[in-house]
Amino acid sequence: MSDESTQVGRVLGSQHSSTSAFRVVLDDDNFLQLDDLVVVRTQVPKAGEVRTYGVVTEAEAVYEGASYESDTHRIAELGIMPAAKVRTAQVQVTRVDPEVWVSPDPGETVERATGDERAKALYVDEMSRPLAIGIGRDELPVHIDLDFFDGRKGGHMSISGISGVATKTSFALFFLRMLSAREHAGLVGEGAANMRVLVFNVKGEDLLWLDRANSRFDDEAREGWAALGVEPTPFPSVAFWAPPKRRSGDVVVPDTGGRFDGIDVFSWTPREFIDDDLMQFCFTDANDAKNQIPFIRERVQTQLKRFAVNVAGRPGAVVLRDPSQTPGARWGAQEVPAGPGEPVIDDLASLVTALEVFLEPEDGSEPDQAWTGRVMPSTVSAFMRRLHAAASRLGHLVRAGESRRIDRGSATVTVVAIQSLHEQGQRFVVGALLNETFREKEETGRRLPLSVIVLDELNKYAPREGSGPLKDMLIDIAQRGRSLGVLLVGAQQTASRVAPEVLENAAIRVSGRLDAAEAERAEYGWMLPSTRARARVLKPGTMVISQPAIPVPLVVTFPFPPWATRKEEVDEAPGPDPFAGLQPPAPPPG
């Protein structure tokens, strides 16, 4: 097993080696760089050979014999002083095999861990389902144990890093591509084909091209994908959804800038808005949880469900009628014709107007206490003021007519483009969809098929401070989603601004480049001091990954995506072939 050519140095003997770290004095003709994997064989009395595996966390060099800084000139420039150049590497222990926790012997040879030794250093042999998640410094894949993502032993992933260079979204998509790759179907196991991924496009239109090939995809990237064993193709099954353009009249057009074809428009009918309690997601600002607004909101939601009656000939629209007018005091699925002058609720604005009748009567009389409870009049007006604001910001998401709910089942990946919406509108859509997803899984009670949610700017939806229905739900997903197969891939610039309950439940933690001050915070305690220092200078495409199966964070790269990430990258089909008429036209991509 021992191959002379793999020796890189010896365990330093002038300092204590320990079970967690040791240093290597390098041979003159070899080197170790950061992230290299090494193994040391130590003969332990009575226990036999113990192998210590580790990863290089720092590399250092010094002139031995130089005692003053100026000695450097005397040694290197004038040559009047003898000294030995000594290069060393710090190694963090990843594993001791067998589990006899002893330190490696000083002076013992240190070898590069390759082949089976590499797999052992990275615990791949102990992972029940190793999923490639990046490429190590040695250009071989680095794995995570899927058990720690899909809920068997742990769930969720948290990705941190500053915007622009941290490539949080790129990594999330790369991970999804690995997760949904045909080659990995066996790993993901039962339900792989039915796995559903919900992705929110919150900035630009980066995610609207996942089904198109990238024209900048080159051979280097191809090698990366080959190393991972996955064929580099765009996402095979993607559905794109966008909100309707405002004031587009009866013509429903997706509110996107660069792409229109293949994008479905989503909205909710007033009926769905009422039945699904979507009103709560109009009140997601941290301030909305103060005073008694949640109280009156719940009251109004309950009353709306009792009062709303479907209108004949107007799908999705309702009118509000006292249920005591009907036998059993329940309207159920009945349809009624709208009375003359009776206000028909066919969008959010008309719903708010209809509510005014009960909450802020025009004649100045007291509000109906069945709707308001006994809250102060100022609370009622605060509630109405917020509803009005919501109607103007996200009113276009609620409209009567045929149902335009997002069908999360139509493709493996569902991209919901909310970048054009006001922040309140974004929270509304995220809330409504997460709610829908989570309730659905709660009802079935089954973990499979998996439902993965990718959400960037998590700090907006589950901020550390304040509370609200959206934050509560994200915490709920973080805590219970694991057993229900609802898995959150959350991304944020600053983990310190995200609710700790959400972060703590993420078994897989990933970080790109971090702001220097941010890197020192307790939220990144899973990194080694050396990794933290490095996190400030990570290049795009390089991430630090921590997982419960390996006691040290690993640094990996991930290859350039084969799908386009903006319009300019879309690999347009070659120009029309003069003989094209002789062949049947190719089906459109996606």
């Binding site: 014999g65 005692s67 003053y68 100026s70 000695d71 005397r74 040694i75 420039e77 004038l78 040559g79 009047i80 002083m81 003898p82 000294a83």
Partner: protein, 314 residues
């Protein structure tokens, strides 16, 4: 009117000017006319020699012994270690390296008759030798003498392909060009008006050569040179004395003297890094550190000696 100066050397090392007039001149006669009668500073000259070896040795006492003689009573002894070696400065490639390191350990006994130090689990082991009396200084001298012999052998071996500068006065005068390098001036070889030239030396200049003990087998050429002029220094600041074998021809000695005057200032140490600056040369300072390190841990040697002696006793 004389002025008062504070010496730059760390007081623990004494002073470079440890003159004792009673010893001056020490040995034989001094002949100041060997090079010239016109006593004035002479500019050094670098002949471009490409390898210069600096030879030095360090020693220490590891343990004190007592030889318990039933008849004569207890007599003292000691165990000491010395290390000698060289730094070879390759001026072409501008590299220095430590070479020819030799380490020895000796038990020095003042009395007894044929007692030997028991085998000690050390590498190198401990040899046994005897001092000609029980004065503690004589014990130390015996060890020192062993070290000086080793230094001489080291210098001789290196002289084949290097210009050799050995720390301290020459012990054995042979026909090779080794230069003895004397940092401290315990003996005043020159009297006025010849001694006046020393005050006039600029860095890189030397005094004319003179011979010491010219009518004995220990005849040697000697000269003073200034390594550096330190700020606030007196007239002898940074001055060292060199000597080489009197058996060499005068021309060869002259070129050696010129070379030392030009080259040694290049390796002089600076006061911020060496308590004996500038006289303690950089290669020699580094060599001494390395040799001390190579002698091994003193505490470990001490414990091993005790262990060996106790094992023998039981």
């Amino acid at each position: 009117m004389a002025r008062i100066f504070v010496e730059g050397w760390d007081p623990d090392y004494g002073t470079p000017l440890d003159q004792d007039d009673a010893l001056s001149p020490a040995e034989g006669s001094v002949d100041t006319s060997v090079e010239t009668d016109d006593w004035a500073p002479i500019e050094g000259g670098d002949d471009g020699v490409d390898r210069i070896a600096f030879v030095d040795g360090v020693r220490r006492v590891d343990a004190r012994l007592t030889l318990d003689d039933p008849e004569r009573g207890p007599t003292p002894g000691l165990v000491g270690t010395f290390a000698v070696g060289a730094v070879v400065w390759d001026r072409e490639t501008r590299r220095s390296e430590v070479a020819d390191v030799r380490i020895e350990r000796w038990a020095v006994l003042a009395g007894g008759s044929g007692e030997q130090m028991p085998a000690v689990d050390l590498d190198p082991g401990v040899g046994t030798t005897r001092a000609p009396g029980d004065d503690p200084n004589l014990l130390m001298m015996a060890l020192h003498s062993k070290m000086r012999d080793a230094e001489g052998e080291c210098a001789e071996a290196l002289a084949a392909d290097c210009a050799v500068v050995a720390d301290g006065p020459l012990k054995k005068i042979r026909e090779h060009a080794t230069v003895g390098y004397v940092k401290t001036h315990r003996v005043n070889y020159l009297e006025a008006p010849f001694s006046g030239v020393i005050a006039e030396l600029a860095p890189g200049q030397r005094s004319p050569m003179f011979t010491i003990a010219s009518d004995t087998p220990y005849a040697r050429y000697s000269w003073y040179l200034r390594l550096a002029m330190l700020q606030g220094g007196h007239s002898w600041t940074g001055v060292v004395r060199c000597e080489t074998s009197g058996r060499l021809g005068r021309d060869q000695a002259t070129s050696i003297a010129d070379r030392t005057a030009a080259v040694l200032p290049l390796v002089a140490s600076e006061p911020q890094v060496d308590p004996r600056a500038p006289q303690n040369l950089v290669p020699i300072g580094a060599l001494e550190r390395e040799l001390r390190h190579r002698m091994g841990d003193r505490g470990l040697v001490y414990r091993t000696l005790r262990h060996a002696v106790m094992r023998e006793a039981s």
